[in-house]
Symmetry: C2
Subunit: 233 residues, 2 copies
DNA sequence: TCGGCTATATTTGCATACAAAAAGTGATTG
DNA sequence: CAATCACTTTTTGTATGCAAATATAGCCGA
């Protein structure tokens, strides 16, 4: 169940069995992605270690791990800060994500099994259900799962890994978003088309749809960023 | 001079001034990329720490950093090993690299300044010189610099960062390669065409050329892998 | 001789301790 | 009154120590 890791949000660990400091990585990442640790805020090692119920050593290792992902930035002799959410950076990330999703779409049209497509369809309907109820968080959850599943259908684990890393940046901004009903409906409609193109295994069309979908996501994220940017500073 | 970091090979650090454990990350990465630490070999913390003249703590942090890049794999309670160089993994990486280089080529055609192109041309001639002398290592060095510079011309730092990370995997295999003269000449010719397409800012053609170039690289790497695979195991 | 078990040794993982650097504080002086 | 300097406090970076887990070796028994 690899999808579960994407939205793993438990802060107080339940699994002592034989996992290691990956727990800390996961917890820290969630704190950052969900915005509890704000962009550009300092990561005080003592405070965080206490909060996560560990010592500084595994925490520092986790910070280094996330630094490699780009979620935190290391300042020599001055610790680490949560990476800034700069509009310029978001544009960059979306351009790369666009290329990756387009690639994934193309590969998925060729490699996806019928079972894969059925699973995406199932996730799609879950998503529709939460959209109908106006449950944004749950909607996002299934939305993410669809995109991740599409990645996995491409059958390229490296692609999936890179995508996840970049996507973490974007999700940080998305957590702040309050979709207007209009935009939300539009996004759902886009997903309908995406599913349709996948079912027909029309790689070219799917690539285009994914690019457009991402472009719209970028617009949304930019609005969120400029809005909060004015509010917080 | 950001290109310098790509081929930074000093093991005994010269810079004590105010750099930190990034030194260890860089050293460790070089050991892996250059093959001194063979794929799937165990990373003994005590031995490595002594070799790099540090203690286990910064070394472990460096290992976690590289684990996030995918150059090493973490085995819970059993340390870390250098990531395997599996042909399947290489194929995956090249597919993603292909999409990224194509994207970079397209962006570079639009964003590169004349000075950028002049710099790439200069690197190109350096490369030709070392090709003429049959100096493989130096040839690779400038070859890499050209590709990195092309990435930078795209004006997307995120793209460059992701590219570098994936490229490290590939370079590990390339270090084992002994190019045949025929293939080598062909690669150089491809670079001539790449430069030409860039000068003419023909993004579509450049994308195609880069894809072909990468496809040929993949063939080369696969040959190296299957060859060494038979020899070492 | 071979397989399994125990005891030993190594190695990892985590916590703590210590040193250096940065940040904060306050007093003194121009 | 502001700025600077010295001093204190906090925080980071690194080394070391210790416990748990794993690998290794030796031993016994079949």
């Amino acid at each position: 169940m690899p999808e579960a890791a994407v939205l793993n949000t438990n802060v107080t660990s339940l699994v002592d069995r034989r996992l290691l400091h990956e727990t800390v990585v996961s917890q820290l990442r969630d704190l950052i992605v969900q915005g509890e640790l704000a962009p550009e805020s300092k990561l005080n090692e003592r405070v965080l270690a206490e909060k996560l119920g560990t010592s500084r050593t595994p925490l520092r290792e986790a910070i280094k791990f996330l630094a490699s992902e780009g979620l935190v930035e290391l300042l020599p002799n001055r610790g680490a800060v949560v990476a800034a959410l700069k509009p310029e950076k978001m544009k960059e990330v979306f351009v790369v994500l666009g290329a990756l999703e387009a690639l994934a779409g193309d590969l998925a049209c060729r490699n996806a099994t019928e079972a894969d497509i059925a699973e995406i369809r199932a996730l799609h309907y879950h998503m529709l259900a939460h959209h109908a109820r106006g449950e944004l968080a749950q909607y996002f959850r299934y939305n993410q799962q669809i995109h991740i599943k599409l990645m996995e259908c491409a059958g390229n684990a490296t692609l999936t890994q890179v995508y996840r890393g970049l996507n973490a940046h974007v999700r940080r901004a998305r957590y702040m978003a309050n979709l207007s009903r209009e935009r939300w409906d539009k996004a759902v409609h886009e997903h309908e088309e995406i599913l349709d193109a996948l079912v027909r295994r029309d790689g070219v069309r799917l690539q285009g749809l994914l690019r457009d979908h991402l472009a719209n996501k970028l617009v949304l994220v930019m609005e969120v960023l400029t809005a909060t940017q004015g509010a917080t500073s």
